[in-house]
């Protein structure tokens, strides 16, 4: 071990294992995590003979599919499978260690299965979830279009009900209506949950989810009327197999509309659901997970940069003196230490909002919707800040590594690729901040009229008339 690192470790004033246990949530959790890491990382099937960056785009995809299939096979064989294992493999650090530049099967588990569970009827769940879980089919979630992303009401894909055949007809009326971005859509998935504007009895009822077969289950050839492919190379996440999808009058059975909430009857009558809080719950969960992932990726980046800064010696601080560790330079500390602090800030905030989510969820069960807007507002801005802070901090610590941080092998460029993508997906950051702002503006009016405010905005009552003393 490098002697500078030995000295650093000897000089540490606290028990590092105690902090590890605190961050993991206890000693047992640490052991569980380490067992899981050993189980996956010791498998030679996950080792790359040649680093992925030296392979062609096509070879990278093929390797990733091989690894992803092996990963999920191993997961199913694991003696103590749990959701935590899934989380670690799909978005967490362990998954990104095996598939550095994205997992082409991730959407099957992250979006396809949860959507079937959250939006399908009991019968639909029984049929589709068992097929998806047994990997008879591979799915993805196709919502975003070439011309519309975060503003989902603007989606153009149509699903028009034809009562004579009891089918929906899916169509992409324009090029901008083509689905664009879904992971695994290009060449991996053979089914998708497709979000489209529902038309029945001559009326549009807004966006609804439909299960659509994209490829033949045997030959994997695209189904008639399905125009499908990969969108091309990106800044990062190049093995996620993000795809495009167009529909030319594609017919699907009425039963393929996910009808847990809203329904279309055989004659075309539309029946609206009284509540859509389940959809809301999934959204909240995803945002908390994103904040946790940002903390994980940033912890990786700061570990790389801090250890390097302890090993690296450079320049002369005092004439004639030996080259000091770069960690001794104040500017280096200013790059690294606030970035390390951000890891904790993100982790603790995510934990807090998760607890708040559970409280609000139990209030919802009793019909109390009062704190729902507050929770939504906090989760929107927290996702935005965690992702943008993480992206900035990864870049700052990459610069802290000088030229070596620019090497792909430093793993900082691909970490940046993973983190900066999160600024855009699951709600573009500026749009999310404006959603929080809308809530703040309403709350501001309430504060001005003297109403009692919910805890996270109670400060507006305290400081609404506050002025700086001059």
């Amino acid at each position: 071990v490098n002697e500078d690192l030995v000295k650093e470790r000897q000089n540490c004033s606290f028990n590092t294992l105690e902090l590890t246990h605190l961050l993991d949530g206890g000693e047992a959790k640490t052991l569980e995590r380490k067992e899981r890491e050993e189980y996956f990382l010791s498998d030679p099937a996950f080792k790359d003979e040649v680093p992925m960056e030296y392979l062609s785009h096509q070879e990278q995809y093929e390797h990733s599919v091989r690894k992803a299939c092996h990963m999920f096979r191993k997961l199913q064989e694991m003696p103590h499978g749990s959701m935590d294992n899934f989380r670690q493999l799909l978005g967490g650090m362990l998954g990104s260690a095996i598939l550095k530049d994205g997992n082409p099967l991730a959407l099957h588990y992250v979006m396809f299965l949860p959507t079937l569970a959250g939006q399908g009827t009991v019968e639909q769940q029984a049929y589709w979830i068992s097929r998806a879980w047994n990997l008879e089919i591979v799915g993805t979630y196709a919502q975003t279009e070439l011309g519309h992303g975060t503003f989902i009401r603007g989606l153009e894909t149509t699903a028009t009900y034809d009562p004579s055949t009891q089918e929906f007809v899916l169509n992409s009326p324009t090029l901008t209506a083509y689905k664009w971005w879904p992971g695994g859509l290009g060449h991996t998935a053979n089914y998708a949950v497709v979000v489209a504007q529902l038309y029945t009895q001559g009326k549009c009822h807004g966006i609804h989810p439909f299960i659509v077969q994209l490829r033949d289950e045997e030959t994997h050839m695209p189904m008639p009327g399905i125009i499908i492919g990969e969108i091309g190379a990106k800044l990062g996440m190049n093995t996620t197999n993000n795809g495009y999808l167009g529909f030319k009058q594609v017919r699907i059975p009425r039963e393929n509309m996910l009808m847990k909430n809203n329904k279309v009857l055989e004659d075309g009558t539309y029946v609206k659901s009284p509540s859509d809080k389940l959809t809301y719950g999934t959204m909240m969960f995803v945002r908390v997970v994103i904040c946790q992932d940002m903390a994980s990726y940033l912890s990786k980046a700061v570990t790389i940069a801090t250890r390097y800064s302890a090993v690296r010696h450079q320049s002369e601080m005092k004439p004639g003196a030996p080259e000091p560790q770069v960690l001794d330079y104040r500017t280096q500390q200013y790059k690294l230490l606030p970035s390390i602090a951000s890891v904790f800030a993100m982790k603790f905030s995510a934990n807090w909002i998760w607890e708040m989510y559970n409280v609000v969820n139990s209030e919802l069960d009793q019909g109390d919707l009062e704190r729902l807007p507050e929770l939504h507002a906090v989760s929107c801005c927290l996702k935005a800040l965690c992702t943008s802070d993480a992206a900035s901090a990864v870049e700052i610590v990459r610069l802290a590594c000088g030229g070596h941080g620019y090497m792909k092998s430093s793993n900082l460029p691909s970490t940046y690729g993973l983190v900066t993508a999160a600024c855009t997906y699951e709600g573009e950051n500026t749009v999310l901040l404006l959603q929080t702002a809308r809530y703040l503006m309403k709350t501001w009016q309430q504060a001005r009229s003297g109403q009692t405010l919910t805890p996270s905005v109670a400060y507006l009552n305290l400081y609404s008339d506050w002025r700086q003393p001059r």
Partner: protein, 190 residues
């Protein structure tokens, strides 16, 4: 309302800034609407300030939760000290990065900024000896870090060199492009 370099004072200041920015955005939007703009246009015209208000609100929330969590965490005193220093550093870092907002909306005065800068530097000094210890506590497996710069053993240069040997170009001493393109090119220029 005298400024103090304490976490209570800092949290309060973050919320004062958030409230000030919310108020400013709301008033500017109202003024635009009263001036004849549609609510939608007024919203769009004010959206830079709205985003800033939202960011300030969230930053205050994160700072408060960080400090609150650390103060409630049941750990040994040496670890508690480090966690408190981290929380303070986070708060002071973002305060100084947005000091214009704090000078506008909180009771921070220009005379207090030097003290805050000193506080930040003192925190960096205190945390410096524990920097490696803190990142070691993240306990990230070398295969997950996947970086010659960050491996546990610190063999940075050896590992960087080993990585360079994986470049396909290093598999042969002379690349065929030399014979196909460079050699004729060089001769043609002789």
């Amino acid at each position: 309302t005298v400024w103090e370099n304490t976490t209570d004072c800092v949290i309060k200041a973050f919320y004062q800034v958030a409230a000030g920015k919310v108020k400013a955005a709301a008033e500017h939007m109202e003024r635009r609407a009263k001036g004849g703009m549609t609510p939608e246009d007024a919203w769009n015209e004010t959206s830079i300030e709205l985003v800033a208000a939202s960011t300030a609100h969230c930053r205050a929330f994160i700072v408060e939760k960080f400090i609150e969590t650390v103060s409630k965490t049941d750990v040994s005193r040496p670890l508690q000290a480090v966690l408190c220093q981290m929380a303070e550093l986070y708060a002071v870092y973002w305060l100084l990065n947005n000091k214009g907002d704090f000078l506008m909306f909180s009771n921070l005065s220009p005379a207090d900024v030097d003290g805050l800068q000193l506080w930040l530097e003192q925190l960096l000094t205190k945390l410096r000896p524990n920097a490696v210890g803190i990142v070691d506590s993240f306990d990230i497996h070398d295969d997950i870090l996947a970086s010659p710069l960050g491996a546990w053993d610190g063999r940075v240069y050896e590992r960087l060199f080993e990585e360079s040997q994986k470049s396909p170009l290093n598999k042969e001493p002379v690349n065929k492009s030399f014979h196909e393109y460079m050699k004729p090119f060089l001769r043609s220029n002789l």
